[in-house]
C-alpha cells in the first residue's frame, strides 16, 4: 500500500516517470470530453464505438507491414495511422450498408463492429505465430496500458490532442449548427457532408490517440461519459463542453495516477471508472437535470398545485354557485372539501397544515371544518380568478371539449406565470362579469356534497 505522500507526489506530477503519462491522459481527457459532447449531440455514440473497434485490424496490419519491411513493428505513428485508416473504413462500411440496403443503423453498426474486431483479433493471432515479431505490445491497444508510453509517444499524443482541441474550439459554431439542424445548415450553404467528415476525423484522431491509454474497448466510454455527465449541469452548449472537457481531464488525471500506483490496475479501466463516478454523481446532484433537482421540482409543483386546489375548492364551496362581489368567510366542512376532488384524507390534511403554516386558514383545531383567514380569502379569490380565466381561454381558443377543460386547466394554470395571466385577463375582458374580479365558471360547479 503506498503512502499518502507518494500519492500526493504523483497527483502533483512530482514524479518524472508518471508526469508524461498523466499529462498525456489529462490532455486526452480534455479532447475526448470536447469531441464526446459533439458526438453525443450528433447522436452518433454508437458510431464512435464502431470506429474504435474497427481500429484493431489496422493496428495488426500496420505491425505486419512494419515487420515485413524489416522493422520491429514498434513505430507508434505507423500503428496509429493504420488504426485510423481501418477505423474510418469501418465507419464508411456502416454508411454504405445504411445507404445501399434497408438495414437499419444499429444492425449495420453491430455487424461492422464485430466483424472488424474479429478480424483484428485474428490478425493478432497470426502475428503471435510469426517468428520475427513479438506481438507483446499490441494487446495494450485493446485494454490500454499507459505504462508502455515513452517520450516519443508523448509528443505524438500531445500534438494530436492539442490539434483537436484547437480545431473544435474554432469550429464551435459550425458543429453546433450541424448537430442541431443539419438541414438548415445545408440550406444556409454550409457543406454539411464536409463538416460531418471533419467531425468524424476529429473523433477518429482522439480515438486513435486514446488507444494506448484507454484501449479500444473502453475509449467510447471516455468519449461519451464526461459529456453525458456534463449535460446534467447545464443547458448551454459552451458550458456543457467546458465541463465535459474538465470531467474528462479530471478522470484522466485521477485514473492515470491511480494506475501508476497499482500497476495491476489497467489504466483504461480505472479512468473509465472514475469518469463513471463523475457521471453517477452528476446524474444524482446535477443542478439542471439531475435526479434530485427534478424530483424536488416535481414535489414543489405538487405542493403548489395542492395549495391552489385547496384554496379554489374552499372558494367555490363558499361561493355556492353564485357570483358575488363580496364573499363572506364561513367554515367549510372537511367532508365537503374532501368530496370535491380525488384526494386522500392524508393529502388533504397535509395541504391544510401547510396552508395553516402560511396563515391562509385558521388553526384546524377542530378537524371537521376549515375556515379561511382574510389573507387566505384574498389568495383564494386570486387563484380562482386565474383558473377561470385560463379555463375560458381554453374554451374560447383551443377547441377543447368543455368537459375536459377543467383538468387541463388545473395542469396549465400552475405552469403559467403572472405575466401570462395578465395577458389572458386583457384578452378575456369581454367575458368578465361587470364589476366582478372573478368571471363565472364556464361549467356548472358541482357543490360537492
Amino acid at each position: 500500500m503506498p503512502e499518502l505522500s507518494d500519492i500526493w507526489n504523483v497527483l502533483i506530477l512530482r514524479d518524472y516517470n508518471t508526469r508524461l503519462v498523466v499529462i498525456c491522459t489529462i490532455l486526452l481527457g480534455c479532447a475526448c470530453g470536447l469531441m464526446g459532447g459533439f458526438l453525443l449531440l450528433r447522436k452518433r455514440s454508437l458510431m464512435g464505438d464502431t470506429l474504435s473497434h474497427a481500429t484493431l485490424p489496422g493496428v495488426g496490419l500496420s505491425f505486419m507491414l512494419l515487420v515485413a519491411l524489416g522493422g520491429d513493428g514498434k513505430s507508434l505513428p505507423i500503428l496509429l495511422a493504420g488504426a485510423g485508416i481501418t477505423g474510418v473504413i469501418g465507419c464508411a462500411a456502416v454508411l454504405f450498408i445504411r445507404e445501399q440496403t434497408r438495414i437499419k443503423d444499429d444492425a449495420a453498426m453491430g455487424i461492422v463492429l464485430s466483424v472488424f474486431f474479429g478480424a483484428g483479433v485474428a490478425i493478432l493471432g497470426v502475428i503471435q505465430k510469426m517468428p520475427e515479431g513479438s506481438a507483446a505490445g499490441l494487446e495494450s491497444f485493446i485494454y490500454g496500458k499507459t505504462a508502455s508510453m515513452v517520450m516519443s509517444d508523448f509528443h505524438i499524443l500531445v500534438f494530436i490532442t492539442v490539434c483537436v482541441i484547437t480545431c473544435s474550439l474554432l469550429l464551435f459554431k459550425e458543429f453546433r449548427l450541424l448537430c442541431f439542424d443539419e438541414n438548415f445548415a445545408a440550406v444556409l450553404g454550409w457543406p454539411v457532408k464536409f463538416l460531418d467528415i471533419l467531425l468524424l476525423t476529429f473523433i477518429t484522431a482522439v480515438t486513435v490517440a486514446g488507444l494506448q491509454a484507454v484501449g479500444l474497448i473502453l475509449i467510447i466510454a471516455f468519449l461519451i461519459t464526461p459529456a453525458a455527465a456534463a449535460r446534467f449541469w447545464t443547458n448551454q452548449l459552451d458550458r456543457m463542453l467546458m465541463l465535459s472537457a474538465l470531467i474528462g481531464a479530471a478522470s484522466g488525471w485521477i485514473g492515470a495516477s491511480l494506475s501508476a500506483f497499482f500497476p495491476r490496475l489497467p489504466a483504461g479501466a480505472v479512468i473509465v471508472l472514475v469518469a463513471a463516478l463523475f457521471f453517477v454523481l452528476s446524474m444524482l446532484i446535477g443542478t439542471e437535470r439531475g435526479v434530485m433537482i427534478r424530483s424536488l421540482r416535481q414535489s414543489q409543483l405538487e405542493k403548489r398545485m395542492g395549495r391552489q386546489h385547496l384554496l379554489r375548492a374552499l372558494y367555490e364551496i363558499m361561493e355556492g354557485g353564485r357570483v358575488t362581489e363580496e364573499l363572506n368567510i364561513r367554515t367549510v366542512p372537511f367532508r365537503q372539501i374532501r368530496g370535491r376532488r380525488t384526494w386522500s384524507d392524508r393529502q388533504l390534511r397535509d395541504y391544510i397544515r401547510r396552508a395553516y403554516n402560511e396563515g391562509l386558514v385558521e388553526a384546524p383545531n377542530k378537524v371537521d371544518s376549515i375556515l379561511l383567514t382574510e389573507t387566505g380569502l384574498v389568495e383564494a379569490k386570486q387563484v380562482t380568478r386565474n383558473h377561470r380565466l385560463w379555463e375560458m381561454y381554453l374554451i374560447e381558443y383551443a377547441d377543447v371539449a368543455t368537459s375536459r377543460v377543467d383538468r387541463d386547466a388545473d395542469m396549465v394554470e400552475h405552469i403559467l406565470g403572472d405575466k401570462m395571466v395578465t395577458r389572458l385577463e386583457n384578452k378575456l375582458q369581454a367575458y368578465r362579469i361587470a364589476g366582478s374580479l372573478v368571471p363565472q365558471s364556464p361549467h356548472p360547479i358541482d357543490p360537492g356534497d
Binding site: L177, V187, L188
Partner: protein, 261 residues
C-alpha cells in the same frame, strides 16, 4: 451587360419549377411538377398525407436530389440564390432537448452570412433579439428551447427565418399543432412579409383556413392538380381531385369553406 443581366434576374419570378420528378427508392414521390409562383404572394401548398408537399419544398432547397427537372429561384439555381431564401423546417425535425437557448437558435439564421470560424457578432445577436420581439418571444430569449411550448418553439423557428432576411420563404407546416395565439402571430407575420414584397410558400394542412390566409394555392397530390389564385383554384371539384376518396370526411369542411366565401 452586367446591368442587363441583373435586370432580367429581378424580373424572373421567385420560383419556377419545370418537369420536376423526385423518387425515393425508385418510387416517385412527386412527378412532372410544373409551377411558376408570382412575386409577393402568400402561397399555400395543400394536399393529402404523402402527397409530396415536404418533398417539393426540400427539392426546392436542394436538400434532396431530384430525379429530373429544373428548379429556378429568381431565374437562377438555388446555389446562387440561397442568400435570398429563408426556411422554416417542420418542428419535429430537430431535437428540442438540445442545449441551446431560443436566442442561440434564432442567431443560427445569421450563420449563412458568417464565414468560417467567425463568432456570432453583437450585431447578429441584436438582429436575432429583434426577430424574437417580432414573434412575441423577447422574454423567452434566454430560455433553453425545451422549456418553450410547442407554439413558442414554432415561433422561434419563424424568428430564425426572419433573420435570414430573405425574399422567398419556404415554411413546412408552421401551423401544425400550434396554439391559437401562435396561429394568429404567424398569420400576422405572413401578412407583414407580404406587405414588404416577400413571397412565402407554406405547406398547410387546415383546408378551412386556406382562403382566409392565402391568396395563392397549389393543390398537390404527387402532381400539381391545380395552382393559381385561391379564389379560382380552391374549388370543391379541385379538392375532390386532390384528395380523391379520402375527401368523404373533408367534403363537409370544404362545403363550409365554399359557402363562407
Amino acid at each position: 451587360m452586367q446591368i442587363e443581366e441583373t435586370a432580367i434576374a429581378c424580373k424572373s419570378p421567385p420560383l419556377t419549377i419545370r418537369d420536376l420528378t423526385v423518387a425515393y427508392h425508385r418510387k416517385p414521390v412527386i412527378w412532372d411538377i410544373d409551377l411558376s409562383i408570382p412575386e409577393g404572394k402568400l402561397v399555400s401548398i395543400v394536399g393529402p398525407n404523402g402527397a409530396g408537399k415536404s418533398t417539393l419544398i426540400k427539392a426546392c432547397l436542394d436538400l434532396i436530389p431530384r430525379t429530373s427537372g429544373e428548379i429556378n429561384i429568381y431565374g437562377q439555381s438555388y446555389k446562387k440564390m440561397r442568400n435570398r431564401v429563408g426556411y422554416v423546417p417542420q418542428r419535429e425535425t430537430v431535437d428540442w432537448d438540445f442545449p441551446v437557448s431560443a436566442l442561440d437558435v434564432v442567431a443560427m439564421g445569421t450563420y449563412g452570412k458568417l464565414g468560417w470560424f467567425r463568432r456570432v457578432s453583437k450585431r447578429s445577436k441584436a438582429l436575432s433579439m429583434e426577430a424574437l420581439e417580432r414573434v412575441g418571444l423577447a422574454d423567452y430569449a434566454h430560455r433553453q428551447i425545451s422549456q418553450l411550448s410547442g407554439g413558442q418553439q414554432q415561433r422561434t423557428f419563424l424568428a430564425r427565418a426572419l433573420v435570414q432576411d430573405a425574399d422567398i420563404y419556404f415554411m413546412d407546416e408552421p401551423f401544425a399543432a400550434v396554439d391559437a395565439a401562435t396561429e394568429r402571430a404567424i398569420v400576422e407575420l405572413l401578412k407583414e412579409l407580404q406587405k414588404r414584397g416577400k413571397t412565402v410558400l407554406v405547406v398547410h394542412h387546415d383546408l378551412a383556413t386556406v382562403p382566409q390566409y392565402f391568396d395563392w394555392t397549389v393543390l398537390l397530390n404527387m402532381r400539381v392538380v391545380a395552382a393559381g389564385p385561391t379564389d379560382e383554384v380552391f374549388t370543391q371539384e379541385n379538392l375532390r381531385r386532390t384528395y380523391g376518396g379520402k375527401l368523404t370526411l373533408l367534403t363537409q369542411a370544404a362545403n363550409e369553406v365554399v359557402q363562407s366565401r
